[in-house]
């Protein structure tokens, strides 16, 4: 029932919900997203999911150990890249000081 095609279809569906959730989360936090920040976030998600897919694919071919190592490398890249991405997303450019109410 849950064959390869259905799995990849589900991954496509999941992608929309992840993107939607990310946009809502960013709006709630007051992050100012632009196209390149969105692209970087997409890249982060792509690295994370590809690491997982690679693990699954290699496990299916009887190379679970190699797959797990590849996944750990991908995870490491995701953590480092993710930390930088969060800093970038929460960063607000300095604007001119607003006049005091008085």
């Amino acid at each position: 029932m849950f064959n390869g095609s259905l799995f990849w279809f589900a991954m496509g569906v999941l992608f929309v919900f992840v993107a939607w959730a990310f946009k809502t989360f960013a709006d709630d936090r007051g992050w100012r997203l632009n196209w390149w920040k969105g692209l970087l976030a997409l890249l982060w998600y792509a690295i994370l999911s590809l690491s997982l897919y690679a693990w699954g694919t290699l496990a299916g071919e009887g190379e679970a150990g190699a797959g797990f190592k590849l996944f750990l490398i991908g995870l490491f890249v995701c953590i480092v890249f993710g930390a930088g991405l969060v800093r970038l997303l929460i960063h607000r450019p300095k604007t001119q000081a607003e006049p005091s109410p008085q």
Binding site: G4, S5, L6, W8, F9, A10, M11, G12, V13, L14, F15, V16, F17, W20, W35
Partner: protein, 406 residues
């Protein structure tokens, strides 16, 4: 004030400047396709010998007798003559399908190997995995090789199945002629004109009339044509316009008209209506995949708006994807090679993993965004844009002459 004007100018260049830029881009695109076409022509001049060697079991030596015909031998000595291997050609969905057909001295087919094709990979894989090729072994050149008569086609890949069967017939007859066996002239194919052709012509007619400004009930009729397109052209016959069907034109692969009337009506109809009316009736009125997305939009209430700036940027994505797919198809002489459309994935559940992912993404995104595939991924829209620019460029000198006869 001046700053504002400059800002507006940067976002939206004046029509004359934009037109000139568009024309330069179109000219460069056509030039690039022409260069790749020539490069691909040089590349495709390859021998079929590896396939020929695989086709004849037991043969160890092959001699090229003429173009597309090889004699097969045990070891090259006269008594060891086994038969011939001929390259037969059939008319497939993405251009000619070539098959190396091994025929023994009695005129019986003993081996079949696909030597080249332009079919979409997923469809060809489906045929290869079936029993079709094995069922063609043992046939004689005098057999009809007709799908539904003496050959069982593969459901959902009828054109590819027929192309393979006819390629084997073509090869076996060429070999039989060389063997001196009596070969009857092949019967001209029967004209295929049925429900899909009738429905398509009716949809074109309604689409053309519906585009006229004074037409009442536009909304209701459009929904009617879209649902008919979805069911008949989509789920029943899976016959939407694809980039492969346009790429094959650039390669000069014109399919046999008797068996491909639908294809001629579809491409010819779009070009005709577009030339006359400057409107594309297909995409808006009866594209089956467009209809599927609009149905999802009704369910989800699709209201999410993409900002104009993002939308302008994303406009280049399908253009680049379409150009890349055309260039790959032209270079490898295989129109379906780089097809990334997900029409067949929805209507026939055939496709690669990436196509299934895109399908899931597009269908769910359609709940929130109106026609995401059509706006941001479909390769047909850039082709229509290209035709529009060419049309305008051709029309302009006429218009000038008409306005200024002196």
């Amino acid at each position: 004030m001046t700053k504002e004007l400059i800002a507006i100018k940067e976002i939206s260049p004046p029509p004359a400047r934009r037109r000139r830029r568009e024309r330069i881009l179109v000219a460069l695109t056509l030039l690039l396709i022409a260069v790749v076409w020539v490069a691909g022509a040089v590349r495709s001049e390859s021998e079929h010998l590896p396939c020929v060697e695989l086709a004849f079991p037991g043969a160890e030596h092959f001699v090229k007798e003429e173009d597309g015909l090889y004699s097969a031998w045990w070891d090259g000595s006269k008594p060891g003559f086994l038969g011939y291997v001929a390259i037969g050609v059939g008319d497939g969905y993405g251009g000619p399908v070539r098959v190396a057909v091994a025929v023994d001295r009695a005129g019986e087919t003993v081996g079949v190997v696909i030597a080249g094709h332009g079919e979409t990979t997923a469809w060809m894989n489906r045929v290869v995995k079936s029993d079709l090729l094995r069922s063609l072994i043992g046939k004689a050149h005098s057999d009809p090789f007709e799908i539904g008569a003496d050959v069982d086609g593969v459901t959902g890949a009828t054109t590819t199945s027929r192309a393979l069967a006819w390629a084997v017939r073509d090869g076996s007859r060429a070999a039989a002629l060389r063997l001196g066996l009596p070969v009857n002239e092949p019967q001209p194919p029967k004209i295929v004109f049925g429900i899909p052709e009738i429905v398509l012509l009716a949809l074109f007619a309604v689409g053309y009339i519906g585009h006229q400004g004074r037409f009442p009930f536009t909304r209701q009729v459009r929904w009617g044509t879209m649902l008919i397109g979805l069911v008949v052209l989509g789920f029943v016959y899976n016959a939407p316009v694809t980039l492969a069907s346009i790429t094959r034109l650039t390669l000069g692969y014109w399919p046999q008209w008797q068996t491909n009337l639908y294809w001629y009506f579809l491409i010819g109809g779009i070009l005709l209506v577009f030339t006359i009316d400057n409107k594309n009736p297909y995409c808006r009125w009866f594209c089956p995949f467009g209809a599927a997305q609009e149905c999802m939009a009704v369910i989800g209430g699709a209201k999410a708006k993409v900002s104009r700036r993002v939308s302008e940027g994303l406009k280049w994505l399908p253009r680049l994807l379409a150009l890349g797919a055309v260039l790959i198809g032209v270079y490898y002489r295989n129109p379906g090679l780089a097809s990334y459309e997900v029409f067949g994935t929805l209507f026939e559940l055939i496709g690669s993993n990436i196509q299934f992912t895109i399908l899931g993404l597009v269908l769910v995104a359609s709940l929130f965004v109106l026609r995401p595939w059509c706006n941001y991924l479909c390769p047909i829209a850039p082709v229509v844009d290209l035709i529009r620019v060419i049309r305008e460029a051709v029309k302009e000198p006429w218009r000038k002459t008409k306005n200024d006869p002196a």
